[in-house]
């Protein structure tokens, strides 16, 4: 059992219900979850199984309906809007499926969007170097390929030196060759910065690069597997 000081996330009975006028949708039905510092976790599951909802709550973008989520010694479920914003700003890096770069800013300036508001950021150029894009720092998103844009997004996410890196389908829009490059950037960043990394994907082939694999189904955790050995992204194919 890992030392409890090593545990970054702890969720118990995490539940999320979406209610609008007529319908009630149970997105999460009582999730229990733990993550250690520096762990690389892949989250699998079909559409609608609650993966993204889980990630949003863990990242402070959304609120749980019931249950508790602890990040180190902050109880996320009891924070107000302003505090959640601060949590996001100081501790969490997000990478989304569609790269979400600001088109009117260069790669470096996109990363600087984060370094300007973070408490203890790294240099924007250092973040870009970690993802292998030092020579594209002055290019605009329109001049970058899909994979390169995604890597800039990763650089932006880690530039603030976050404790947590959350990726929602980072390779979903990419072909396998480019996707592998992105995964390489993620694993490199996970190693270099030591951020606890959660990657959502519906592509089961990626599971082999993780420390732990969690499979969601119908709002619950269906299966949890620990990988005895990890593969490198280059060794994975889909």
């Amino acid at each position: 059992m890992p030392a409890s000081s090593d545990i970054v996330f702890r969720a118990t009975g995490l539940t999320k219900v979406y209610r609008n006028a007529a319908l009630e949708v149970q997105a999460l039905r009582g999730i229990d979850f733990q993550a250690r510092k520096g762990e690389f976790i892949v989250i699998l599951g079909p559409s609608g199984s609650g993966k993204s909802t889980f990630l949003n709550i863990v990242g402070g973008l959304d609120r749980a309906s019931d249950g508790e989520v602890w990040f180190e010694d902050h109880q996320l479920t009891s924070l107000n809007e302003a505090q959640l914003t601060q949590y996001r700003r100081d501790h969490v890096g997000f990478v989304f499926q569609f790269y979400n770069l600001v088109p009117s800013l260069t790669a470096r300036e996109n990363v600087q969007l984060v370094t300007e508001i973070a408490r203890r950021p790294m240099q924007a150029d250092h973040a870009l170097a970690l993802v292998g894009l030092s020579d594209r720092a002055n290019h605009f998103p329109a001049q970058l390929s899909g994979g390169e844009q995604q890597r800039v997004a990763i650089a932006r996410a880690i530039a603030k030196n976050p404790e947590v890196l959350l990726c929602d389908e980072p390779t979903g829009a990419l072909d396998s060759a480019t996707g592998i490059k992105v995964l390489q950037a993620l694993t490199e960043v996970n190693r270099a910065v030591g951020a606890t990394t959660l990657v959502i994907t519906h592509n089961a082939a990626i599971r082999d690069i993780a420390d732990r694999v969690i499979r969601f189904a119908d709002g619950r955790i269906a299966e949890e597997t620990v990988n005895a050995t990890k593969k490198l992204p280059a060794e994975v194919a889909w």
Partner: protein
Amino acid sequence: MIWETVRLALLALRRNKLRSALTMLGIVIGVAAVIAMVTVGQGSSRSVTASVASLGTNVLSLRPGTHGFGPTGSRPARAFTLRDAEALADLSVIARVSPTVSSGQTVVAGGENLGTSITGATSGYLEVGGWTIRSGRSFNSAEDRSGASVCIIGETIRQTLFRTTDPVGQQMRVGNISCEVIGLLQAKGAGTFGQDQDDVVLMPIRTVQRRLAGNDDVGSISLALVSDVSATRGAREIEALMRDRRRIAAGAENDFSIMDRAQIAQVLTGINSVLTGMLSSVAAVSLLVGGIGIMNIMLVSVTERTREIGIRLAIGAEGRQVLTQFLVEAVVLSLVGGIIGVIVGLGLAFAASIFMAIPFAPQVYVVILAFGFSALIGVIFGYFPARKAARLDPIDALRHE
């Protein structure tokens, strides 16, 4: 930090140059219109005041009938006669009399014709009206007395009928009489309200009365007062004399009016102010419309950039920072529009001042006011869209198309 926000705002505006330009157009037009109106209004006021000053303050204008601003309205009355003018000339306070009468006629010469108003006058007209002879001479007293067929013309008449030749000594047909041109007046250009002051033909007043009008009427009398006499005293003596001559009973109202040039100027500038005020109000309305245009475009912009806003909020930017960014964009739009509007407005006023021959009188306070107002419009009409942006839910925003 605020400088970063301004930089981001300028970048965003530059990305959509055409849209930014079109959005600014409303503000540009509104500000330009206000600036142009007020500057031209100011210039024409000054022009009136200047022409009053150039004529001297002790020239009074005597007309039959009353002017229609009071409860009684306009009432026509008997015209004056030359004997009235002579009686007035005898008053000690009067230095010079200039009786006039107008008659609309067609003038013909050199194969061209022109409809114009003939002014029957005496030799005193030039001095009282501030005219100078450019070539030739004025009427002599014999021509005054006998009603000779001579005339003095202005530059516009000369250009239409005689082109570039010297008209002095040539014949001209006025109505049904033929007369000799004895003098050409120095050009004066456009008057206070754009009327052409050089469109003038002067003939001896007796000529016009006997041979064109067929009566004894004198339409108005201008009186130059002796230099140390006040306008009030002059008017009082003129009034007393005229009441006597026209047999107005004690207690009855005058059937004529005496105005000094300052009063005339006051009436004219009063009309000017009302006009300027009305036009400026219309221009201010267009500023309002410009502001609504900005709000529209900012709302569209917020919708279009929902994803981008979602990213910034997800990364951890505070709603306040997003609000500031969009507010700054709106204010930059309206300020830049205001600057362009001021330049365009002053340019228009300058062109108008040349065209209308009035002084170019830019007012600093109006320029500052226009700036301040356009910044205010940016803040007011940009606030609602900016607040909308700041209040977006990050998750919904990220999912937006």
